[in-house]
Amino acid sequence: MPLPAPSASVRVVTFKIDGQDLSAREDESILEVCREHKIPIPSLCWMEGLSVIGACRLCVVEVAGVPRLLAACTTRVAEGMEVSTDTEKLRRYRRTLVEMLFAERNHVCSVCVSNGHCELQWLAQTCGVDHVRMPYRNAGYALDSSHEMFRVDHNRCVLCTRCVRVCDEIEGAHTWDVMGRGSDCKVITDLAQPWGDSTTCTSCGKCVQVCPTGALTKQGTSAGEMVKDQHFLPILARRRHIR
């Protein structure tokens, strides 16, 4: 389904990505343009149909004349812009970011419900993470199995907040939110109550489907069995947009 036609005031700009001449509407982000043109940029928190938060920093790019790295998801294209998406420096940063996600919580892929269907695993492979160079924190996190259909394992959570956003922006329930700072930061249901006791959760399962890792899963799945389906999201998001 096509997006609603842009209003007449939206200009089209021309710019270069990795030397390639491109044009797009000026209200598009670098990441959107790259996705459209199949220019690969890793991302984790970004998801088509959800609001943009620029949290994971995996989509950082270099823009000529700008001394710092910019997140492609939160940076709009502009006339004459020259973007590099795959430099040695960017690869180094991305690899380090992915390694830090592995070092922070407890990822044991071989026995994880999401093994083989996990975005973090896939990112590790594409970013060349064959081992994690920093020491593992080895702090244990809780697991909540109180919901009759779903389960949250905070050991696998990367705090992308996709669950929080889909629940609020698409389902309209706002069961999920974020609590705490630093290594204590975690996603919570209602006011940090067991998910099974939630009075707001509609059990729609959207959070489970958008979660990139094995953090949110269906009950009863064992190693490698949790395959997610995210096709519904852009469709729902567009319908809501039109309405």
């Binding site: 892929c109 590790a124 060349g128 993470v129 081992h131 994690v132």
Partner: protein, 198 residues
């Protein structure tokens, strides 16, 4: 403890029974805290092992009879994480005597299942394994077993590692690719053929 790797000091008897043929790459392997699955995956190379046998000479391994690690080995391959004092000895001996060290499999590369005890205190883990879950005559073994380390570590947390092959276990094709590249004198990039949990 008188395990093979802790007596890695070279002696005349420590040399392999048959000296490696010239032109062949010498290989040593052993397992630390793993399930031996990576070694099984090595054997899964099936008929390719016949070709490999022309190019490598396994001088020390659970797969052969030699009891001692030779003084100088071209390629050391280690499976399993570093979980006890014996593992620590073995990994240090391998680093000392092997020119190139390969970390084979998720346990060696990232701790994997053995490292799942890390968020718990060691005493609690031992209590659980040897007392709480035991019906008959529970006791904590202290003799003839190496002392457990407080934290299970990947190899590269203890010694420098040259090549990492993640996977649980890495498939035979991945192992074959890495060995072939190394034999050809090239630097393999194993992450192109395997990943964590593969």
């Amino acid at each position: 403890m008188n395990s093979p790797a802790t007596t890695a000091a070279p002696t005349a008897a420590a040399q392999p029974a048959t000296p490696p043929a010239p032109g062949k790459i010498t290989v040593a392997t052993t397992w630390l805290d793993g399930c031996s699955g990576c070694h099984m995956s090595f054997l899964d190379m099936d008929e390719r092992l016949v070709d490999l046998a022309d190019r490598i000479h396994i001088v020390y391994s659970p797969l052969v009879d030699a009891k001692d690690l030779p003084e100088q080995v071209d390629l050391g391959i280690l499976e399993g994480s570093v979980s006890n004092e014996e593992d620590l000895h073995k990994v240090k001996a391998f680093r000392k005597h092997c020119k190139l060290l390969v970390s084979l499999g998720d346990c060696a590369v990232n701790g994997n299942v053995p490292a799942m005890r890390n968020p718990f205190k060691l005493d609690a883990v031992i209590e659980r394994a040897y007392r709480e879950n035991v019906d008959h005559n529970p006791q904590i073994p202290t003799e003839g077993v190496p002392r457990l380390l407080k934290t299970v570590l990947p190899l590269h947390a203890v010694v420098p590692v040259d090549v990492f092959i993640p996977g649980c276990p890495p498939c035979a094709d991945a192992i074959f690719y890495v060995l072939s590249e190394l034999i050809a004198g090239r630097t393999p990039d194993p992450i192109t053929v395997t990943r964590f949990g593969a």
